[in-house]
Symmetry: C2
DNA sequence: AGATGCGCCATTGTATACAATAATTTCTTC
DNA sequence: GAAGAAATTATTGTATACAATGGCGCATCT
C-alpha cells in the first residue's frame, strides 16, 4: 500500500485513484507482476470497492494492469514476443505522430515540451529514477497530443505506457541509461524544425535506441512468470 | 430493446451481453447517438446493473459507446474532424497490419478469410445490409489477427469499430455501395501474394475507397448533435 | 400565450451485503 | 517428517439498496 501515495490533487475521487495507481506503476514503485488487491485500495482511498473495480478495469483497458477472472488485478507482465509486438506498434504510432506534430506544433506547445524535458533532466541528475521515467512518458504523451489526432494519441498512450513496463521488466542491469532521455532534446528540435520526415526519422532512431538497451532474447529473471 | 437480441451463444454472461450490444451497433440496429439505458439491458439479459455497467464501460473503452457522467451511455457520435482522425489512424494501423499479415498468412487463415468474404457477399445479395456490414468488420478484424501483433490488432479493432459508426453516420444516402466489400476479394488476394508492400498498397486503396464515399465536409443531418 | 420556476419521476453513481471462487492453513495419515 | 486432504480464511464476482443528479411536466406569473 505504501507504494501508492495519494499525492495527485483529486479532480474526482476515481480520477485521483486512477492517477495514483498509474503513477505508481510508471515510477516503478509497483513492478510488473505485483498483485493489486481491491480491499486495501478501497480503504486507503476511502471509497468503496465499486469505484476501485471501475478504476482497475480502466487501467486494464489501458494496458497497464492485467485482470484475470477470480484472481484480480496485477501490474501487467509481458512475455518477450508480446513485448516485441508492443515495441513495433509503438514505432508505427509514434513515428506517425511525430510526423503530424512537426506540421502543427505551436510555440506554446514547444515551451511545454521543453519544460517537461527540463524536469526530466533534473530528476535524472537528482537520481530520482522513478520520477524521471514518469516525466519521460509524460513527454511522449505530450508529443502525441501535439499531433492533434486524439484517437492515435490515445492508442499511443496505451502502448507507450505498456512499453514503460516492458522497459522495467527487460532493461539490462548494468546499463546506466535512464531512458535515452538525453535524446529528447534533439527530438523536440526535430519537431520544431517543421520537417515531418525528419521528425519521424529522429523519433524512430530514439525508439530504436531504447529497444537496443533491452534484453528480450534470453530469458530474464521475471519473465518466467508465464506459461 | 428489441434492437438487441440475445442471439450470441453465451460463453459467459457478460461476454454475451458485450457481443449483443456490439453486434447491434455494428449492424446499425443501434444508430450513433442512441441512448442505452442500464435498467432495460439488465432486465432483458437477466443480470444486475453491475455487470451491465461493466460491459458498457468496456464498450466505451473500445470506442463504440460514449459514456457521459450522470448521463449514461450512448452509441458514439463522431464530429467530422474527429472522424478524419479516426480514418487516418485506421489507415496507419491497417496498412501496417496488412504488411505483416502478408508475410505470415497460412492456408488455414486464408480459408477463413475467404469464408468470411463469402458470407459477406451472400448477405449483400440477400439485401441484409446490417449483417453484411458486421461481416465486413469481422473480416478486417480477422486480417488484423493474422498479423500476429496482438496490441496492434486490438488498437485496430477499436478504430475499425468506430469507423463503422462513422460510415453509418456520414455515408451518402444515394450511393448503393455496401462497403466496397467487393474490394475484399482483391484484398485477400494481395495478402496471399506474400508481397507486404503490395498488400499494404491494396489495403490503402481499399480504405481510400471507403473514405471517398463519405461526406464529411458539409454538415450532415445527424452531426449537429455536437457543440 | 409564452416564459420561468418548482417539484416529481427516471436514471445514474456509490456503498454494502451476500455468494462463489481461490488461497492458506491445519490436521490426518503413511 | 512429508504429502495429501479437509476446513478455514481471504479475495473476488454479483446483486441489491440507497443517494444524488438530471430531465420533464405542470403550474404560476407576467
Amino acid at each position: 500500500m505504501s507504494e501508492i501515495s495519494s499525492g495527485s490533487h483529486a479532480v474526482s475521487k476515481d480520477r485521483a485513484l486512477y492517477n495514483a495507481v498509474f503513477d505508481a506503476v510508471m515510477e516503478q514503485r509497483l513492478r510488473p507482476g505485483t498483485r493489486i488487491g481491491e480491499q486495501s485500495l478501497a480503504e486507503h482511498f476511502a471509497v468503496s470497492r465499486t469505484v476501485v473495480r471501475k478504476v482497475l478495469q480502466q487501467l486494464a483497458s489501458d494496458d497497464v494492469l492485467c485482470i484475470e477472472v477470480n484472481k484480480g488485478a496485477s501490474v501487467a507482465l509481458t512475455p518477450p514476443s508480446l513485448a516485441r509486438s508492443y515495441l513495433h506498434t509503438r514505432m508505427v504510432l509514434e513515428t506517425e505522430l511525430a510526423r503530424l506534430a512537426a506540421t502543427r506544433i505551436t510555440d506554446r506547445e514547444q515551451k511545454r515540451l521543453r519544460k517537461l524535458h527540463a524536469y526530466e533532466l533534473r530528476y535524472r541528475e537528482k537520481g530520482q529514477r522513478g520520477r524521471m521515467l514518469r516525466m519521460s512518458a509524460e513527454l511522449h504523451f505530450a508529443i502525441a497530443n501535439v499531433s492533434g489526432n486524439e484517437p492515435m494519441a490515445l492508442a499511443a498512450r496505451r502502448v507507450v505506457s505498456r512499453c514503460e513496463l516492458i522497459v522495467a521488466q527487460y532493461e539490462r542491469e548494468g546499463v546506466d541509461q535512464g531512458c535515452s532521455c538525453v535524446d529528447h532534446g534533439g527530438l523536440i528540435d526535430a519537431l520544431v524544425s517543421g520537417d515531418p520526415d525528419f521528425a519521424a526519422r529522429v523519433m524512430k532512431v530514439h525508439l530504436l535506441g531504447i529497444e537496443e538497451k533491452l534484453q528480450l532474447d534470453i530469458s530474464s529473471d521475471v519473465q518466467r512468470a508465464f506459461s
